[in-house]
């Protein structure tokens, strides 16, 4: 790519506004990058570059996104485009309407180069569960990009888009952002409408931006955080300018370290990155406090009951009756069974089975009910911890990106979500930002969590740490 081309959404926007760059020119450059590199990275399930280029010609340089290419995870609807969810079940499904968050971006002048790869129905942490093909990490093609929004993070990391939209149910935006060396932000639950996001765990699902800088995440959130009357869980809140809220320092802020997570086994370079971040925070005027979230280690098991329970209901609609894959059986039951057996991959089936089990008569109280009680407990504890700290710092992942095929035990895969899941259970905003690299040069991601609707302060704190650890604002 031409080295003079903007690296961030913010730079792009300024270049377009000052007529240094035209949206179409930029998109044509982007097309070349995609055509050259996506055959190796495989970030996209569907490309629509011709359409995007023609749309960029109509893009107004004064609009908020001014024709910037934004990639969309393929479990979020964009009318007239495929929406496969990375599943054979929806291989030929075309979205009949546009998700509210996508519409907001389109209205702000975004153009969509394509729909990105994901773990089937957003279930996975490596994008290897895509029914079509795995995506490769642009930093090291032998490694996974993380997941489930691996296609979106790879696209942003590889220069295929200036930003992307992902979905985060247990870390699916933050974990692949960490693996790919980009910013991944999960806003407060309900801040961005879920209308048009194919549901996985409805009480946990959040749409979030994936960008090259924290400022870019704030720019995208400004556009996506709108109250939506079509989503009953969409929050009504006073408008906030997230970009304008970015502060230059952490003066007076309290950075919390969670006591119960200290003993966890993380890659040494990640532990060192935590230290670097802590020092950077102190230097920027923050105080560092240790907080306790006594039941935080129970978040993982609680999540792997609640999310499958909700998914078992949410994915019931894929029955071959009205749309999607249909395999005829001798009777209705056999039609359901054949269709669902052929349409879903093994991870999706595993979660549906777990979910149906934990909700079934006689097991509900022991599993689902217990898990929701634990969820409430952890939520209360996080809320309390966030009274003595403004933001909580953790690693995003215990390790950097692993090799394709390296993790085959589902439990091993689940365990790596230990840092990201608590924010989903509590509905809290959380962001992963790049914080250096490990010995192999693989990106390290650190996570900050904040209180519900504390998205502006959280982005501000993340921006300070991100820039002081070498990130370009």
């Amino acid at each position: 790519m031409n080295s003079e081309l903007p690296r961030s959404l913010d730079q792009y926007r300024r270049a377009v506004r000052t007529h240094v760059l035209s949206p179409t020119e930029y998109l044509q450059e982007t097309r070349e990058v995609i055509e050259q590199n996506d055959p190796q990275v495989r970030a996209f399930l569907h490309l629509r570059l011709d359409a995007a280029i023609s749309e960029s010609k109509a893009a107004k340089s004064s609009s908020l996104l001014a024709g910037a290419p934004i990639a969309i995870k393929d479990n979020i609807m964009m009318a007239g485009e495929p929406c496969t969810c990375g599943s054979l079940m929806l291989e030929h499904y075309v979205a009949p309407y546009t998700a509210t968050a996508v519409q907001a971006l389109l209205s702000a002048g975004a153009v969509v180069p394509g729909k990105t790869n994901l773990d089937e129905f957003a279930m996975g942490s490596s994008t290897e569960n895509s029914a079509f093909f795995p995506t490769h990490n642009p930093q090291d093609l032998s490694r996974v990009p993380g997941g489930s929004s691996g296609g979106s993070t790879a696209a942003v990391a590889a220069g295929f888009a200036l930003g992307a939209v992902g979905s985060d149910t247990g870390g699916s935006v933050r974990q692949p952002a960490a693996f790919c060396g980009v910013v991944g932000f999960k806003p407060t639950y309900g801040l961005v409408s879920r209308y048009g996001l194919v549901a996985f765990g409805s009480s946990l699902d959040c749409i979030g931006p994936i960008t090259r800088s924290v400022r870019d995440a704030a720019i995208m959130l400004n556009i996506m955080a709108v109250h939506d009357p079509r989503d009953a869980t969409s929050l009504r809140h006073a408008p906030v300018d997230y970009e304008a809220s970015l502060q230059p320092s952490l003066a007076g802020k309290r950075l919390g370290i969670i006591h119960e997570l200290q003993g966890l086994d993380v890659q040494p370079e990640i532990a060192r990155a935590m230290e670097d971040a802590r020092r950077a925070a102190l230097q920027s005027g923050a105080s560092v406090v240790e907080v306790s979230v006594p039941h935080i280690l129970s978040a993982l098991p609680a999540y792997y009951i609640i999310a499958p329970a909700e998914c078992s209901a949410n994915l019931g609609r894929f029955d071959g009756v009205r749309y999607g894959l249909h395999l005829e059986g001798r009777d209705m039951t056999e039609t359901y069974s054949r269709t669902r057996n052929a349409g879903f991959g093994s991870e999706v089936k595993r979660r549906i089975l777990i979910g149906a089990f934990v909700l079934s008569a006689g097991y509900y109280d022991a599993y689902y009910k217990k898990a929701t009680d634990v969820r409430q407990l952890i939520t209360d504890e996080l809320d309390l911890a966030l009274q003595s700290a403004d933001v909580l710092l953790t690693p995003t992942t215990p390790t950097t990106a692993f090799k394709l095929g390296a993790v085959s035990d589902p439990l091993e895969m689940y365990k790596a979500d230990v840092f990201t899941i608590p924010a989903n259970l509590g509905g809290l905003p959380a962001i992963s930002f790049p914080a250096g690299t490990d010995e192999s040069g693989l990106p390290i991601g650190l996570q900050l969590m904040g209180p519900r609707l504390g998205d502006a302060d959280l982005l501000s704190a993340a921006n300070v740490l991100f820039t002081s650890l070498g990130g370009a604002s």
Binding site: G196, G201, S202, R230, A309, G316, F318, L359
Partner: protein
């Protein structure tokens, strides 16, 4: 032998749009014309609660004296069926909007309150239409127009003892929901549906085995199914045949029940709280506003018509069958304080005419003022009772005042003595034999002579005056 009956009734709430989307609830349109991503359960679509449905549900629950809960919760009821596009129904499970309450019904032993267990709100499923030869590979078609239509489910305690009582309960509930305007209550349009639980026990202190009956499409089917089931279970008890706890299907044509396949009857619905909807909170202001708009209830008005106006229980029940009729009656009584006469006239002449027209009272032009005026004209002798029957259609069809109608028809009663006297003379001459009979003391003949006079006057003569004048001339 004691029979115990409990009912589960689904009542469609009369909203214009569906429970969780903006689609129309219109009945009888082309299949699959009122559908959208939400009610089709398309991936990514989300439900948003229809506030009007909640208000209507609150109205019913309040009228039934239920305890309304400040916080209630929606749940997902999971099962696979082609007419259930999300594979779950959004309903209320362990935290319904209302519990308790009762509904009075008329029984052989007087009015009795049937206690209610609970009332909750939920969405309807689509409608499956099976080809007749489904077992031979025929097709099933699904119409999703009904999918997502709001319902309230009302569950009674096992407080009824016969098919007749269950029938009365349904009638009473239908009267209430129509009265409140919260539902059409039409069973044949599916706006009211009923499942029945019946148990027969030889020991009055213990319930027998509960048997559920489904596929009841009319009040009459409910009664027939219960009557059949009562006799079937009694026979089982007499024979010593065990009665399994099961769900049975009513066969409309045969009038019998038969077990449903256990697969259809036993399902683990895996209920859990609906994460797409926040808890349903009822504010004090909202409850107060519904309470304020709650009308006098049918059974209250019925009792008042008896005590205040001296109507018979029969008349009071008839006049409070529909709210518009009851209110019409009430307003007519206010104008012309003659409740029993008004009641009789409404139940006979007005009812007959409405029946001929195939209309309800509110669909006609008749006003309480006009009816009161008409009855006053009869009372004061301006027109005869017979002539009033010719006037009524004009009031009903055109909305003219009774004065205008009477003029238009030329029906004013002739009370002019000389005119009637002239007619009386003619009648005596033309009916000399009968006149002679009267003179010789056969009083009853006078009626015949008055009739002849009325005929000559084309009904306009004041019959009382005619009788007096005839008597005078013959005396």
């Amino acid at each position: 032998m004691i029979t115990t009956i409990g009912l589960e009734i689904h009542v469609q709430l009369a909203t214009r749009s569906k429970m969780f989307c903006g689609c129309s609830t219109a009945f009888g349109d082309e299949p699959n014309t009122h559908i959208c991503p939400v009610c089709l359960g398309l991936p990514g679509a989300l439900p948003v609660l229809n506030a009007t449905a909640v208000q209507l549900a609150i109205g019913i629950a309040m009228a039934l004296g239920c305890q309304l809960h400040e916080v209630s919760e929606f749940s997902r009821k999971n099962y696979f069926y082609p007419d259930l596009p999300k594979s779950y129904q959004i309903t209320q499970y362990d935290r319904p909007i209302a519990t308790g309450g009762s509904l009075p019904i008329a029984t052989a032993g007087g009015t009795r309150a049937i206690r209610l267990t609970r009332a909750h709100i939920e969405e309807d499923a689509g409608k499956s239409m099976h080809a007749a030869d489904i077992t031979l590979g025929g097709e099933t078609l699904v119409d999703f127009n009904r999918c997502g239509v709001p319902l309230i489910e009302i569950v009674t305690e096992p407080d009824m003892q016969s098919g007749d009582e269950a029938y009365e309960f349904l009638r009473s509930l239908r009267r209430l929901v129509r009265w409140l305007g919260v539902s059409s209550g039409d069973m044949e349009k599916g706006a009211m549906r009923c499942d029945v639980n019946v148990s027969v026990s030889p020991d009055p202190s213990r319930h027998g085995t509960k048997v559920e009956i489904k596929n009841l499409n009319s009040f009459r089917s409910v009664k027939r199914a219960i009557d059949y089931e009562e006799q079937r279970q009694a026979q089982c008890l007499a024979d010593g045949t065990p009665i399994p706890m099961e769900t049975r299907h009513f066969d409309e044509a045969l009038g019998t029940t038969a077990p449903m396949r256990s697969k259809e009857a036993s399902n683990d619905y895996r209920y859990f709280p609906e994460p797409d909807l926040p808890l349903l909170m009822l504010g004090a202001a909202e409850l107060a506003s519904v309470r304020e708009h709650l009308p006098e209830l049918p059974w209250e008005m019925q009792a008042r018509f008896e005590s205040e106006f001296g109507l018979t229980p029969y008349d009071a029940a008839l006049l409070t069958e529909e709210r518009s009729t009851a209110e019409f009656f009430q307003r007519t009584v206010v104008i012309s304080n003659n409740p029993r006469k008004i009641a009789t006239y409404m139940e006979t002449e007005v009812a007959k005419l409405l029946n001929e027209r195939g209309k309800t009272l509110s669909e006609t032009m008749l006003t309480p003022e006009a009816l009161a005026g008409l009855l006053t004209m009869v009372e004061s002798g301006i027109i005869s009772n017979t002539a009033s029957k010719d006037v009524l259609p004009l009031l009903v069809d055109t909305g003219v005042t009774p004065d205008e109608a009477v003029r238009k028809l030329g029906l004013e009663q002739v009370s002019d003595t000389s005119a009637i006297e002239e007619l009386a003379r003619q009648v005596i001459i033309e009916n000399a034999a009968q006149a002679e009979q009267f003179r010789s003391g056969k009083e009853a003949v006078l009626g015949f002579l008055v009739g002849q006079l009325m005929k000559k006057s084309k009904g306009k003569a004041n019959p009382k005056l005619a009788g007096e004048l005839l008597r005078k001339l013959l005396g």
